[in-house]
């Protein structure tokens, strides 16, 4: 037996994205943000997108390109960043922003990837982020119902992959990537290196290839991946 080959060029992978799609994008700041896939999505031009992304990146980087190109209708996030272009778009009513507590966003995505309908949590009870959510009592305690999140497409950045799409991450570039890689109908991973089957030790794999549809190797990394000099 041989595991199927999912390696492809980025042009093929982006064809899966349609107008109106919900797109999860990994990353926390620069680390783990799939900069090249984001540029491919800008070039592809799909519009009216709902993005799920921890933060909105800094001006001129990452999802900021999608915000500037006007492709984003809605952003599900935790923190836009203090300098983000997204704050102005939100205040002008050009995009709708839904804030989630960071760990709750992670768990909603995890639940979506795990085939669950949602999670119960008391985080944000009594604050405006808890308003309007259903409350259930379990063993005498009140919890908010946090619905699972899934996406049409997830854009993932990993350090290494094999041709089956098994993924390995480095350092704080892991963040939301393994969770989002489980929670979309179509999962596209950009990686810094594709290895042949067997090139990743089974114990080093954090996302099993069964979750991944396409894996594409980055060439030389652009300046967007580099250390930010502030």
């Amino acid at each position: 037996m041989k595991l199927p080959d999912k390696s492809c060029v980025m042009l093929d992978a982006r064809a899966k994205i349609k107008d109106g799609n919900t797109v999860m994008i990994g990353g926390f700041g620069v680390p783990g943000t799939p900069m090249a896939l984001i540029h491919a999505l800008v070039a592809h031009g799909a519009r009216n997108l709902t993005l799920v992304k921890n933060d909105a990146n800094e001006p001129g980087m990452g999802v900021d390109h999608l915000l500037r190109s006007g492709q984003v209708a809605r952003l599900i996030t935790t923190h836009l960043g203090l300098k983000s272009h997204a704050i102005g778009l939100m205040n002008a009513g050009a995009i709708e922003v839904e804030f989630n507590p960071q760990g709750i966003l992670a768990e909603r995505i995890r639940a979506g990837g795990a085939g669950l309908g949602g999670i119960l949590s008391d985080v944000g009870i009594g604050t405006e982020l808890g308003d309007g959510k259903a409350v259930v009592d379990v063993a005498g305690k009140s919890y908010l119902v946090e619905a699972a999140l899934r996406a049409d497409v997830a854009l993932i950045h990993a350090d290494r992959a094999d041709t089956f799409g098994n993924l390995a991450y480095v350092a704080t570039a892991r963040n939301f990537n393994p969770l989002m890689a489980m929670a979309a109908d179509c999962v596209i991973a950009e990686v810094e290196q594709i290895l042949p089957l067997g090139g990743l030790a089974p114990n080093d794999i954090l996302t099993a290839g069964v979750f991944v549809d396409h894996v594409t190797e980055l060439g030389a990394l652009s300046e967007e991946y580099a250390v930010v000099r502030r």
């Binding site: 507590p101 992670a106 985080v123 944000g124 009594g126 963040n175």
Partner: protein
């Protein structure tokens, strides 16, 4: 105040330092101090901050600073990072504040119409760390008190703050409201009282200074 706040960290703690002033607390800990620092973007065991020349492009803290690891550091994903927070593994978190109420309510994420970049991990830290202390200036830029009877801004969490370190004083949140426990060198009790927007319980004994 930052140096004084650093003394709040005791050996063996797991600690999350919020963005801004709290991050500077680490500079006042001895290099070999036994403490585990957690950051929301999925690292325990934060090491010293690095210059751009030394930095690893994949290794930042939640504030975006390039940091390092220490012997024994661990990486995980964002769900695990907040499992650590929500399950009560954090002994202490130090957060910034726009307002703290006499009942310990914290508002630090949104000023409607002015500042609303999002809450990040703030709600979970404030609600779930075993001890929450605040580092802040005693008043805002216009001189308005930040320690007040009841918060006017959207809350981060209710009744979560135990202690507040400011440039003027150390103030505890007690069952009876704010209590002055220490005072900064060169500041009078009267000045602290006037800069505080709620009654301040004064001790019978002489106030320690810092």
């Amino acid at each position: 105040m930052v140096a004084r706040a650093a003394r709040e960290i005791t050996a063996g703690m797991i600690v999350n330092l919020g963005i801004g002033l709290p991050t500077k607390v680490v500079n006042h800990l001895p290099a070999d101090f036994p403490v585990c620092l957690h950051t929301e973007n999925s690292l325990t065991g934060i090491g010293p901050t690095l210059t751009p020349e030394q930095a690893d492009r994949n290794l930042i803290d939640a504030g975006g600073a390039y940091v390092s690891t220490v012997a024994g550091s661990a990486f995980f994903d964002s769900a695990t990072s907040f499992a650590i927070v929500r399950s009560g593994r954090l002994d202490l978190t130090m957060l910034g504040a726009f307002e703290v109420s006499a009942g310990g309510d914290l508002a630090n994420w949104k000023i409607p119409g002015k500042f609303s970049p999002g809450v990040g991990g703030g709600i979970e830290l404030a609600q779930k760390a075993r001890r929450v202390v605040v580092l802040t200036t005693h008043t805002d830029r216009e001189g308005n008190p930040k320690l007040i009877q009841a918060c006017t801004l959207p809350l981060t969490a209710r009744a979560c703050v135990s202690r507040i370190f400011t440039d003027m004083a150390v103030v505890d949140v007690t069952a009876h409201g704010f209590a002055l426990v220490e005072i900064a060198d060169g500041i009078s009790v009267q000045e602290v009282v006037e800069a505080t927007g709620a009654p301040l319980i004064l001790p019978d004994t002489p106030l320690p200074s810092f």
